[in-house]
């Protein structure tokens, strides 16, 4: 039994997890999904992956988005099923000053590096991640660059990060 409609997926999730699942949001197949409470994230993901009829065996994308106005960092999971060819979006909200989310690296191996990137660039701690360290920036870089309030450091190991304007006459 393949459940291809995001609304139907949402209904199945609601019936299993109740209040941990938010309302169905999004208008198109590529952005239709729901918010999940952080505490239930790993079980919801495991359920989505292993339940026959859902079979979301691929974590297509894991990104973090910084919403300073709402004071959260949102982690967005785009799930895809190669079996039934359907998409679903999960969103988890984490407080901006101390963001921590459970890691789904145990469910999909693709999450390992994607979560490292979100940690590196936005500062979200993924609890239970096997090897959480910076991936793109150098290991001793201060701060998390993709945050909206990130201020570039003046220098890195003695190399200045600003440069004289090339348009100086």
């Amino acid at each position: 039994m393949a459940v291809s409609d995001p609304a139907a997926v949402h209904a199945v999730l609601r019936s299993h997890f109740g209040d941990a699942i938010g309302d169905l949001a999004g208008t198109r197949p590529d952005n239709a999904g729901t918010t999940v409470a952080p505490s239930a994230l790993v079980e919801v993901c495991r359920f989505l992956k292993t339940e026959t009829g859902l079979a979301f065996d691929c974590l297509s994308n894991l990104s973090g988005v910084d919403y300073p106005k709402r004071n959260i960092i949102e982690v967005v999971y785009h799930l895809y099923s190669y079996r039934y060819r359907h998409l679903f979006v999960l969103k988890v909200e984490a407080p901006r000053d101390n963001p921590a989310v459970s890691s789904v690296a145990g469910v999909w191996s693709a999450a390992e590096w994607q979560e490292r990137e979100v940690f590196d660039l936005l500062g979200v701690i993924f609890e239970g991640h096997p090897d959480l360290r910076r991936i793109l920036m150098p290991e001793d870089w201060p701060g998390h660059p993709l945050r909206k309030d990130f201020v570039e450091p003046e220098e890195y190991h003695g190399i200045s990060t600003s440069r004289e304007s090339l348009l100086k006459t």
Partner: protein
């Protein structure tokens, strides 16, 4: 800071009174390979690797953050640099994301122009990938031959949009320039010349005994593992999964075109080994030629760009666009907050996932095999680091 930059566990073994220790080698960031600035910390026992730990970030240019500063139209040239070997696809991904958010419909002729440019770019990218793979294995000649063919495509595309590598050809709403007069005939005569050459390359290098011995049964990845690690494109199809975004999540005018999706079949070794991935790329070039002939024949008349405001402000919301780039399914997750600047643009690329599986796949391979694996995944560093 340790020499490797991070902790690497060295194992010591005592064997018959002799203590041996692993060797830690650093392969890169400077090394003679066209795949870009990559680094592997290799823990090896002589020639046999225990593990190859990838270390990326040497080419990180914060392109995603730049999108938040330069605005919707201004970001188009930056998308070329995300993957400069297959730049048309990056252009297309960004344009499609903006169009989807604003609900813009692209004219038919523009879609056809996009696909023609994209498929030529796919052939270009595969030629480079196949050539540099042969060069890494030690055969220098096929690289020069494929680059020679690539030069013809470079000339064609230069006539189309003025650039040979970073095209900046597409715009939000269509493409920048129409196909010039006489270009169709030149493109068709190139295809006439090029298609038989693919068989010649197969005779020259693909089925060469030494070459196949280097590639078969090396780093065989099962379909389940490939899906679990989110491998895409020829890497996924090499493991036997018949999935292509052009066919299964169709976009643009691909539904009107007829083409096959080649899949690895464990031809000379295990299913999903390096040779399968390589042959999928060779066969895909033929399919691209088929698509190009159809597009060039079916090209409709009309405008090449929709009317899009200069001060482009799409509605607030998010979208996730997936296109089939030369390296596989490239995902563009774009969040708009209703202003002239995107709120967030996340580019999820095929090479990023391929890099993550190397640590697992490299156990008990030889150092020479690591080169073959990197080449067979068709990694390009700019796509990994953005």
């Amino acid at each position: 800071m340790s020499l490797t930059g991070f902790e690497v566990e060295i194992q010591r073994e005592v064997d018959g009174g002799l203590t041996t220790e692993d060797m830690t080698l650093s392969m890169g960031p400077q090394h003679p390979s066209t795949h870009g600035v990559l680094r592997f910390v290799v823990r090896a026992d002589g020639e046999v690797m225990k593990e190859a730990i990838p270390d990326i970030g040497y080419l990180h240019r914060s392109i995603e953050k730049i999108s938040e500063k330069v605005g919707w139209h201004g970001f188009m040239p930056y998308t070329d640099r995300v993957d400069y070997v297959a730049a048309m696809f990056c252009n297309q991904g960004w344009a499609m994301a903006a169009e989807r958010l604003a609900g813009i419909e692209v004219p038919k002729r523009a879609e056809y122009c996009r696909i023609i440019a994209a498929e030529f770019n796919r052939i270009q990218s595969h030629l480079l990938s196949v050539g540099s793979m042969a060069m890494d294995i030690g055969a220098y000649t096929p690289f020069i031959h494929t680059v020679r063919e690539r030069e013809y495509i470079n000339d064609l595309i230069e006539e189309l949009c003025g650039a040979r590598l970073t095209f900046n050809y597409m715009r939000i709403g269509g493409v920048a320039w129409d196909i010039p007069p006489g270009w169709r005939e030149k493109a068709l005569s190139f295809l006439e010349r090029f298609e038989p050459l693919i068989d010649e390359y197969n005779a020259l290098i693909s089925y060469n005994k030494i070459y196949t011995e280097r590639l078969r049964n090396v780093a065989a990845i099962s379909a389940q593992e490939a899906i679990d690690y989110n491998l895409v494109g020829p890497n996924l199809r090499g493991s036997g999964v018949r999935y292509d975004v052009r066919r299964d999540l169709p976009y643009s005018v691909y539904p009107e075109l007829d083409f096959d999706v080649p899949v690895g079949s464990g031809e000379l070794g295990t299913l999903g080994d390096c040779f399968d991935r390589y042959m999928v790329r060779m066969r895909e070039m033929k399919e691209s030629c088929k698509i190009l002939r159809q597009c060039l024949a079916q090209l409709p008349q009309g405008p090449v760009i929709a009317k899009v405001a200069r001060n482009f402000k799409p509605a607030a919301g998010d979208c996730y666009v997936r296109i089939e780039s030369a390296r596989g399914d490239m995902g563009w997750y774009v969040v708009s907050d209703g202003t002239a600047f995107p709120h967030r643009c996340k580019i999820r690329t095929g090479s990023f996932a391929a890099m993550s599986i190397i640590q697992k796949v490299s156990r008990n391979l030889m150092i020479a095999d690591l080169i073959a694996v990197i080449a067979s995944f068709d990694l390009v560093a700019p796509e990994i680091d953005r």
